[in-house]
Amino acid sequence: MSGLDLTLKIWRQKSSVDNGGFETYDVKGLNSHMSFLEMMDVLNEQLVTQNKEPVAFDHDCREGICGMCSMVINGRPHGPLKGTTTCQLHMRHFNNGDIITIEPWRAKAFPVIKDLVVDRSSFDRIIQSGGYISVNTGSAPDGNAIPIPKDIAEEAFDAAACIGCGACVATCKNASASLFVSAKVSQLSLLPQGQPERKERVNKMVAQMDSEGFGHCTNTGACEVECPKEISIEYIRKMNLDYNVNNIKS
């Protein structure tokens, strides 16, 4: 087998103040069992042997759970496959001779640090503003002592599947962080331990989201399609309702 030959058009940007632009690279003879990130590793080794600067990109676990990998591949965050992170996307989903365009997440609230690496600390600040429970809620046995209906537990767990990668922002035409924030609000507000701070939490997290410069939600539903954890926009509805009801009441 001769392997996969690809042409890559990759966004290169030296620093946050550099303008940046696309560079084109050819990679040849790739194994189709490679992941997308392993393909990037091959490219980088090739660049190093040519004495060129390797492409900077974020990655950590490479098993779809940390949310670090973040590339827009042919116009879609994490590439064409449903419910898959870039690190779990394999080269067998591409064809010999494909031209693949790779770009960083694009949002004012996610400034590019270098090449494909963006600064997602705006997400951290949203979590810091209220995405926690202030008291120690104990360990697993303590949690299990509180009866929670199965469907509620499932719903909270589905929200908690969010890995905070930012694909929702990357794909949204308004660069809205609503899916991320609503998942982080809901995973706590659905459970008994989250009730005491429920009101304060949604108010603070929404305020922080707005002040970071994310856009508003126009319910296109693109985020739930592109989300590698397939988080539903139902959480956005819940968050909005919570936020509106809280503020209209007071």
């Binding site: 058009k9 966004w11 696309f22 827009v72 042919n74 116009g75 879609r76 064409p80 365009t101 770009e103 694009r106 949002a107 004012k108 609230a109 794909t171 035409k173 308004n174 660069a175 809205s176 108010n203 929404v206 305020a207 707005d210 410069g213 994310f214 856009g215 508003h216 939600c217 126009t218 319910n219 296109t220 539903g221 693109a222 399609v225 592109e226 926009i233 139902e234 956005i236 509805r237 819940k238 909005n240 309702l241 936020y243 509106n244 009801v245 809280n246 503020n247 007071s250």
Partner: protein
């Protein structure tokens, strides 16, 4: 919380509520316009009396002020949000692939809205302005009184095929605007609970199709009957 009124969620609620209010206005307006289907002098008389009532009744005046306010609010707030969302992504993607994850209408609400705004200006100039300030022909009623003949203005306007086509085209834009708009507004105000999702989805589609379709049938009917 003090910044509720400046939050994007609240702004979006205003866009939704003003939009939904405009939908109820459309239904009322449509029911009135159905009188254009009544043939002959009888239809002409009834429509002109209706138009006279609509331009003079104080309750209708109040309703029209509310409607104009809703239109201004809707345009102002959506314009603000659209500009803001452009700012939220200063560098665009070289390749974007919206069709794989969202509907065309949901991505083009501002384009569709602009078509509707243009339509509104043309529409108000043709009928509202003429009725209030233009040189109107009169219909002489059997009891000897005369009444502004908006029926004649309307039926003669739609003898023009281009004008008729323009109306039908704009109703297609309205349909697409409502296709996303109504469902989106229901989601924004928090009503789209999962167990009623299908109901709202198909209900919204029904509204989005039927209102513009019946509206468009009037110019088509008037054009065809003028042939």
């Amino acid at each position: 919380m003090n910044n509720y009124l400046t939050s994007n969620i609240f702004r979006k609620v205003l866009a939704s509520l003003s939009g939904l209010f405009l939908v109820t206005f459309l239904i009322g307006h449509l029911l009135g316009n159905l009188q254009l289907f009544i043939p002959g002098v009888e239809g002409q008389t009834q429509f002109n009396k209706y138009a006279f009532f609509m331009t003079t009744n104080p309750v209708v005046k109040l309703l029209s002020i509310i409607t104009y306010s809703a239109i201004f609010l809707h345009i102002f707030i959506t314009l603000y949000l659209v500009i803001q969302s452009k700012r939220a992504r200063p560098v665009q993607y070289a390749v974007s692939n919206g069709k794989d994850n969202s509907s065309w209408s949901s991505r083009n609400m501002s384009v569709l809205g602009t078509v509707l705004l243009f339509f509104l200006i043309v529409h108000l100039k043709s009928f509202w302005y003429e009725m209030h300030f233009g040189e109107m022909p009169y219909q002489y009623l059997s009891d000897g009184t005369k009444i502004k003949d908006l029926h004649l203005i309307t039926t003669s306007a739609f003898q023009n095929p281009f004008y008729t086509f323009f109306y039908v085209f704009c109703m297609v834009a309205l349909s697409l605007h409502l296709k996303h708009g109504v469902e989106s507004a229901i989601q924004t105000v928090g009503l789209k609970i999962p167990s009623y999702e299908k109901f709202f989805k198909y209900g919204a589609m029904l509204v989005a199709f039927s209102i513009p379709a019946v509206f468009a049938s009037i110019p088509i009917y008037l054009y065809v009957s003028s042939l």
